[in-house]
Symmetry: C2
Amino acid sequence: MRNIKLTIEYDGTDYCGWQTQNATRTKSIQQVIEEALSKVFQKKIALIGSGRTDSGVHACNQTANFKTDSRLSQDRIRSALNSYLPKDIVIKRVREVDGDFHARFRVKSKIYRYSILNAPAPSPFNRRYSLFIPYPLDLEKMKKAATYLKGRHNFKSFHRAMGKQKNFVRTIKKLEIIQRDEVIFFEIEAEGFLYHMVRIIVGTLLEVGRGRFRPGYVKEILKQKNRNLAGPTLPGRGLCLMEVKY
Amino acid sequence: MRNIKLTIEYDGTDYCGWQTQNATRTKSIQQVIEEALSKVFQKKIALIGSGRTDSGVHACNQTANFKTDSRLSQDRIRSALNSYLPKDIVIKRVREVDGDFHARFRVKSKIYRYSILNAPAPSPFNRRYSLFIPYPLDLEKMKKAATYLKGRHNFKSFHRAMGKQKNFVRTIKKLEIIQRDEVIFFEIEAEGFLYHMVRIIVGTLLEVGRGRFRPGYVKEILKQKNRNLAGPTLPGRGLCLMEVKY
């Protein structure tokens, strides 16, 4: 059997997320790609994603893999899949990989980006891909607060409870805040993330940026391990999975 | 009467253009803003735009003006209008201007930008705002061809016939081709444009870029004054009105 790795870009606006979790009106991205796979290969194929993205969250480079005994070339697989996919999901790359490659288990780290439009008026072009914040944000204070989050910490205050999770220790390898004209990007790299972790971290940094929290208060939030102390969970539309490293 | 100038950003995807020309299923942008004006000022108000944009064409800074005897502040007008407008139309600025300012008659020049996504695969994020071209484009040849279009010429070969127009002489003040990663921007400034002129010019430059036309053939197209010699009219979604100068 050949093992095929896909690199996928999608606009998550109209989907319930990467994976179907409950009964929803909208399809999941995984489901739509699996439907295209079954049309191309004329049989049911299970697609393994690098991990879930939530409802409305986008991806520039989501990764997934599947097995097939078809002899179709990589280019043919890509163009055939894209011809069946809707315009908001695109297969960017198709690569044949080692048989033991697994899109989820082999992940070394992931990079997410959260985009804020910090301008006097919202933008029709960015409305699906960023959160609009009209009030001024103090970039230096947010950067200062971010330094306390980098590294290995218990992020219990920065996650949404789901089931009986016990281990809240994660390592943030990178947390950069970049301003480009009226858009502020928050880029976060970690080996693994807790549920809603990026959206709560950025929500907390915005509280610092608008002066509601002192930068040093972030240390206290980490220490207390209490979700209620951190900032709000920001909407999914500002979030994009930028890269999955193996 | 106060004379109010608006600066407007819109995603033109779901509209029939700035102005209603024939019976269409979709509304025009002007019509939607006039409906918002009538809600804010409790009377019918005529809005004068800087000029038309076609169906599907976007604007970062369209301009328009209207008269009112209301005492509402500029900020109040902006936030009231935006509260009635759909998310794909935003009033960015409201300024009280001289009584004799006219959004169309006072235009000195306009800048349009056409965006090409030149990449192996289309992008879900750019699909509403650019034309996807998978084949390689020779930037240097396109820049060479563009030099022949700059300046004052008869652009009859680069327009779509509409009614009994007689004067096809226009002056292109700027025609720049800028590559930023996988996106190529064509920025064109002129005092006035013929119908479909930007979209035919860029369509012609793409023929040069892919090697179908020599750069010097553009001179011949200008000379022959024959629309059939130029390249195709590109779709409206790649086009954006960037600036209106007064």
